[in-house]
Structures are given as C-alpha cells and as structure tokens.
Assembly symmetry: C2
Homo-oligomer: 201 residues x 2
C-alpha cells in the first residue's frame, strides 16, 4: 500500500517537483551539449537555459562535473534496461555466446560515445565515473557460466574479460582516438568477437 | 671508440658520480622499504641513510614520489631484460603460446608485487606510473602473430589482451587485495592461461 511517511504530503509534492526539475535540467544540458559541446556547459548557463534558479542547479548537481555525472548515470540506466529487458541478442532470449558478443559491441560503443562526457565528469581525487561497473562483471560471469558450465576458473576469466572490454575504450578518455570512431568500434568489436567465440567454441 | 665529448673529462667524472649516487640512493631506499615499509621513506631520511646531502636527493628525484618512480623503473628494466634475453619460456627460445602464458604470469606477479610502490609513485595530475607499457603491447602483438599468422584483427586483440592482463592487477592499486596475494596471482594467471590457450589452439 502507498503509505505516506509524513502526515502532510508536502515532501511528496517536493519529491515530484525535484524529479521534474532534474529531468528539465538534464534535457537542457543535453540540448546545450548537442548545440555547443560539453565545454560550453556552465552552472549559470544551465540555470538560464532550463529557466530555473541557480540554487536549484547547485542543489541538484553540486559541481559542474556533477551535471555530466548525472547525464552518464541516466544513460547507464537506459543501457542496463536494454541489457536486462530489451530485445535479443543484447537482451534476454538469445544464446549466451551471441549475447556476449552483442553486449561487448554495445558496451564498447557506449563507452566510446560517452568519452567526452566521462572526461568532463572526472573530478580530481575522485574515482573515474564508470557508471555501474558491477553490471558488466555480473553479466559476463553469468553468461560465461551459461555458455560453458565447465569453463575453468570463471571468476578470473570474468575479471580479465571485463578489463579487456572496458579498458581500451576508457583509455580514449585521456586523448582523442587516433582513428575515426567507427573504425575504433569495429577493431575493438571484432577483437571482442574473436576472443569470445574462440574462448567458448 | 670511447670518444670524450668535452676536453677536460670533468662531466664524464660527474656522470659516473651521478650514476654511483643514484645506485646508492636506490639501494638505501630498497633497504628502508624492506625494513619499515614504503610509508616511512622520506627525502630527509633517505639522504641520511645513504650518507649523501639532501640536495643530491632532490636533484636526483625531484619529489618523494620520484624515489618510488625510479625504483619501479629500475625493476621494469630488469623485467624487460628477462623478457628480451632471459631464459625461456619468459625469454626467447620457447614456442609463442608458452611464452605468452609465461609472460602473462610474470607480468601479473610483477604488477601485484609493485602495487605499494606504484601507489606511492602516483602524483596528482600525473599519469599512472606504469613503466614501459609499450613493451607489453609490442610483445603480445609479436607473439600473437607468431602463434597464429591468420589470426583475424590481431591489433584489436593485442589491445584487449593487454587490458585483460594489466588492468586487473592495477585495480589493486586503489585497494589492498581482498584475497591473499598468492591466490590473486593464481586466479589471474590461470584465467590468462585459459584465455591464451583457447584463443590460439
């Protein structure tokens, strides 16, 4: 049952407002990035664009990097939803090897496409904003066991495959790719496919 | 022929002195770390232990982190010498698959054993001191081609295998391993062996 935690309903209304403001700010940030690039997004500019007070922006995101963190988190949730309940082969319903191949390709593309955002979301002394890294580890571990229940040392392999998959796209955080993005996606995606298919054939 | 670059031999003598001081400082640092751990090494303490002036220590290493960087570099050079000209299967003379397996095991052990030094060598805003990372990429690329000249997309695979090999031990830089070091070495080493043997069988 929908049981109110406080008697007067005020916080409930505030929470709905907060969620609406959050979406409004994220939408405004996405439009600013699409039009002018990540560099041009400021706390003040975002408040103006979203037609909200500066205080709201600061309360919501804390710092400028916090805007980009929130954008990545929202996209990570959408990515996870595709993996957990979207159409196959990324979502459930396909065999484990094609699912692993599809997951790798999608994850590589996701990380490469989010590298400008991820770079902007980094704050000194804070860990790299990598989103929900545990989903990758867990997903690989489960699909490896489904593909080959007798695979020796699946824990060690899952750790290494996660690094093989996410490390190279994250390296591009530090610098622009030396090659066109589509080519990098293809090289890494095909490398991943060979690795998975030979490991589990 | 041994041709002097300057007429009076003074810089030559100074270079020999500098090399001797460097070795003396590194030896003193290694003894201090073995006895009291990385945390206890300071610029002043090192000068005292090596019986050299503080100015020499600062000129040689710049910062405290520079001491640990220099120690890692010296060990990296020794590691590389074993790979390039040591006994097989790590050195030349073995078949490419056993060489790849041996290289992976040795590299995992090296990175895990150097994690306290590597952590101490990190400086804010500087890239992770990873030693000569290019040797790993190059070595993997060459051995992959030797093991299977028809391997599709060897560049992509070499990039991914480097990440699979070096990523997990480097993750332990941020935290102590949750499991005993020998167990971590075994799990990652066996994961690597399975990956390589199935990829190249």
């Amino acid at each position: 049952m929908d049981r109110p935690l406080v008697p007067f309903g005020k916080p409930r209304t505030e929470r709905a407002d907060a969620a609406r403001n959050r979406e409004r700010l994220l939408d405004a940030a996405r439009r600013m990035i699409a039009e002018h690039g990540v560099e041009q997004v400021t706390m003040d500019g975002l408040a103006e664009r979203a037609e909200l007070g500066k205080g709201t922006v600061f309360r919501r995101f804390g710092t400028r990097a916090g805007i980009f963190k929130a954008l990545i988190e929202a996209d990570e949730h959408r990515f996870q939803a595709q993996v957990l309940s979207g159409p196959p082969p990324l979502g459930p319903g396909a065999d484990p090897v094609p699912r692993l191949v599809a997951f790798g390709r999608a994850r590589i593309a996701f990380l490469l496409e989010h590298r400008a955002l991820a770079r902007a979301a980094m704050e000194p002394g804070q860990p790299l904003p990598g989103g929900d890294v545990d989903l990758t580890a867990l997903h690989l571990r489960v699909l490896l066991a489904q593909a080959d229940p007798d695979l020796p040392n699946p824990d060690g392999l899952a750790i290494m495959l996660k690094a093989a998959l996410e490390g190279p796209p994250l390296m591009f955080l530090a610098s622009e790719p030396p090659r066109p993005l589509e080519e990098v996606k293809l090289v890494l995606g095909e490398g991943w496919r060979t690795l998975i298919e030979r490991l589990l054939s």
